[in-house]
């Protein structure tokens, strides 16, 4: 799995998005990805796999009182987006997703044929 920086669509200004920080951990069964998407409610999180591209997108929805003026903003865009390229041995049809308190946990299992096998070394 690698990060895809060459996005096929040209990025327009309205399309600007924050890059959420992620952790990617791989073990024998597959890859686990955690992404910090603070402020995104469950119904505004969009995950899609197209070919070998996994896209994580989310819109920030904060309760902002009427007439609020911003004094200081470190999170100044209301959208997150990050695209990853999945490798062939991952089974993109069995991606499991959990989303709680703004943290997304994705489990991407390895396809059965790609599960690691122990190779016996014969000593002659």
């Amino acid at each position: 799995m690698s990060e895809n920086t060459a996005v096929s669509k040209p990025d327009t200004r309205d399309d600007a998005a924050l890059l959420p920080p992620v952790d990617v951990i791989e073990d024998a069964s597959g890859i686990t990805l955690y992404a910090d998407l603070a402020g995104v409610p469950k119904d505004k999180l969009h995950l899609h796999v197209e070919g070998d591209a996994l896209t994580i997108e989310g819109d920030v929805d904060l309760e902002i009182p009427a007439g609020m003026e911003s004094n200081h903003a470190e999170v100044s865009l209301a959208r997150y987006r990050r695209v990853f390229t999945l490798s062939k041995e991952l089974d993109s049809s069995k991606v499991g997703a959990e989303f709680k308190n703004g943290v997304l946990k994705l489990s991407i299992p390895k396809a059965e044929h790609a599960q690691p096998r122990k190779v016996q070394v014969k000593v002659l």
Partner: protein, 144 residues
């Protein structure tokens, strides 16, 4: 530990921000506690006529472990973020998320009422609403 650059964005909006910050930097003298970027949690601060609103972007934290204090118009948000440790045989390919203890301090305006504070945690965002003192709110004066 410093949090790695918060949420890097595309180059255009980054340049935009740079320009804005330089303009601000020329006109305003910064607060003594500074406005540190790149800390965890990221914070947005805003205000209405009636309240001061602080949004702290702190995903994946048990709200019971968050410590929010106001002392003499200084707000402190502290806590610890624990992440699931990777398994023994696991390989970490990307490691960008903040882990560990954090503390951020914000200077509040003088007209706030430290007894009227509300804090809510939703979708990984801690929202702190501090009411402004009633006598500091603008009043219309009737002309006789």
């Amino acid at each position: 530990m410093m949090y790695r650059s918060l949420f890097p964005r595309d180059v255009l909006s980054e340049l935009d921000r740079l320009q804005r910050e330089m303009q601000q930097g020329l006109h305003l003298s910064p607060s003594i506690r500074g406005i540190a970027r790149g800390g965890f949690p990221a914070m947005n601060v805003g205000g209405t006529a009636k309240s001061v609103e602080i949004y702290a972007f702190a995903p994946g934290i048990d709200p019971a472990t968050l410590d929010v204090q106001i002392e003499k118009s200084v707000l402190t948000v502290a806590g610890e973020r624990r992440l699931e440790p990777p398994g023994e045989k696991a390989t970490v390919h990307i490691d960008e998320r903040f882990a560990g203890r954090f503390r951020r301090v914000v200077t509040l305006p003088d007209d706030i009422d430290p007894n009227a504070v509300e804090a809510k945690y939703r979708d990984g965002v801690l929202r702190i609403t501090i009411a402004r003192k009633a006598d500091a709110q603008p009043r219309r004066i009737t002309i006789q």
